[in-house]
Symmetry: C2
Subunit: 434 residues, 2 copies
Amino acid sequence: MTETALPLTASQLVLRAKQRELEAVRQLAQRTELVDAIGRLIHGLQRERGATSVWLASGGQRFAEVRTQAMAEADQAEQVLRQQLAGQLAPEQAAGAPLLTLMAWVLMGLEQLPALRAQVARQQLDAAASVAAYSRLIAGPVELIFHIADAARLPAASRLLVALLHLVQANEAAGQERALGAVLFASGRCAQAQQQRVLHLIDAQERSLQVFADFAEPALRSDWEARQLTPEAARLERLRRTLAMARPEAPLDTRHSDDWFEVSSQRIDALWQLQLDLMARLRAECESQSRQAEQDLQDSEGLLQGLRRHPPQHAGAVARFFEADPAAQPVPGPDAVAPAADNAALMALLQEQAARLARMEAELDNARRTLHERKVIERAKGVLMSRLGMTEEAAFRALQKTSMDQNRRLLDVAEATLSLPDFAFGPTPGVPHV
Amino acid sequence: MTETALPLTASQLVLRAKQRELEAVRQLAQRTELVDAIGRLIHGLQRERGATSVWLASGGQRFAEVRTQAMAEADQAEQVLRQQLAGQLAPEQAAGAPLLTLMAWVLMGLEQLPALRAQVARQQLDAAASVAAYSRLIAGPVELIFHIADAARLPAASRLLVALLHLVQANEAAGQERALGAVLFASGRCAQAQQQRVLHLIDAQERSLQVFADFAEPALRSDWEARQLTPEAARLERLRRTLAMARPEAPLDTRHSDDWFEVSSQRIDALWQLQLDLMARLRAECESQSRQAEQDLQDSEGLLQGLRRHPPQHAGAVARFFEADPAAQPVPGPDAVAPAADNAALMALLQEQAARLARMEAELDNARRTLHERKVIERAKGVLMSRLGMTEEAAFRALQKTSMDQNRRLLDVAEATLSLPDFAFGPTPGVPHV
């Protein structure tokens, strides 16, 4: 069952813990590559979605070449992602059932892509339906990044992953905004449902970018602030205002269509560049953690071998262990055990290790709380959508309004929604149950 | 890197997820055996602590035989525990660095036990110091149970582990209460510090048993209620009142000493019986989950093999995937992907799996919140102990009093304490830093 000969010693366990730390860092480094591949696939599909919506809205006249190129890029990203996903099956990756299930969903979605493209090619979908289909395809990979961030246990990398997830979400909202806005301007009419959705997407970007700013490092934050000070950003804001102020079903100037696509593409490119910078930081963080964990393991091995060569004197050793004042032990648990004189070096190593792991655990709290909050809010939105037949943005607005009206945190409102019994929602509309 | 031949398919991932679920159940079953061994070691050390304190308080006159027997039992429990710990080194157990570090602490503590016993044998410790030393030795294994409960991811078993942890904590507080009360009665004088500690321990038992009752099943709860309706329980309450009402440093009737030991031992035995019942429930739960996961894996394998023998028709298949109304999808993420006609069976399997995992995750919330609360409160106590040199009970009372005075939850007060900067606590007393 184990390669370790009995009897088991404390120093064996300390070394094994150090090995496990190194393995965990390497596993996260591998997951980071998976995140990179997911990010590139999402980016490719977003480009394909944007080009496809213009192509469909123009009756197959415009962006045919851009679309072909975007499809090729998405296909290439898919191949890389498939390799990364296959790598996650390795036992040392320790991918759990939820991650594997989500990976299966993503593959399942990708297996539907040829059928979607065929429908588009035959122009059997309108532009808005195509945007919706691509957006649902993209939701799976985004969720996968969420799950990877949620499973990460290294504070600095976890913070960067939380920042990345929210940047990807902002980018996805920006991508949907570009595609929907393009459809609206190209159609020459401000359809109300799509106008509302665009406003929701602008709002969602702001919220996601706020979380990004909370978790990214200052250099990346100022990077993003600098990228927003462009003439194109100002032009985008003017066009956004045009969309926001238009009365429902009022005519829109179709000449804005190209301009909209150009300036919203530049916003997306800026977000994408930021994402690449963030990925580079994440990689560097994993590499630095990995080197440190290797060094730490080596040092500990050396120290413990030294101990074995010069065994400490047992005779006459005072068990200081039991003498220290319990009240002087700051943290219960491991720290309740004080150094014994006969192997103080091992004890010091263990104490340092326990204190470091406890510190890491405490540092993780903030990232985990943010992810937990997102999870609870998504779940509450899901309940409102399934029980009351609401759209996603209506569900979010209902939670937000309750939060503001009752002066309660959004998280508390979401938790309260989840704890309501089914009958509180009245008779179910004709929605299939999962 | 992986035994799976490319290209990777969604159905491979679904099966792998099912396998991982089965592995996770088996891993938890193995951890449950570890918890059992830890529980038995704690029980043995508690008996040894009780007998030792009477033996020391009587100047080596009484309980010599009981003590010898208790030591033999503790030694036996230690051997079983060492085997269980060695089993945790197996790769399939996937014990992480924090668990391994904690295991090392526990072993380290056990390696000090012979030195403690030698000090006791030479009567170099007084009874109170011996109780303190044994109590610190026991704190490590209790923390190990906490960690195992915290790492568990199966809702029903997690709830039972949370109940078990709090039962063990109640039992440990009861054990310390017995030992300290025995010292007080045997000394014939009500030392104030120890009197305060006994009252704190009684309070701690109530709090732990409340959490036990919240998480245990109704049958176990009524089991415990029935066990408390004994004449011995009433005698214990009378003696507790005697201790509580005594003025500090007032004389105590030494004739109560035996009676105290007898009735508090009966309380501990009742708690121990309850713990055995709870362990049996936990084992049964793991076995039932394991059988279910095996069946589930078999069924899925059969279903997917059937699919391969009768490949679904691709031609003419409508990609329903993209047609369903997004608003009709109740939960974002996996559920944003709707069934495709060409492999609806796999899609249904995947949907069922995703919904089940999401439900499990939601059901885990309550157990995890309770464990998180304990962790934050322990950490805040540790900060007060190390920064202000408080004892454990003084630290807890300070948190509790702030909570009541300010009408805030204990968790909020603990979190606020942790977020205070170091200088808020003033100059550090002479306490070693970790």
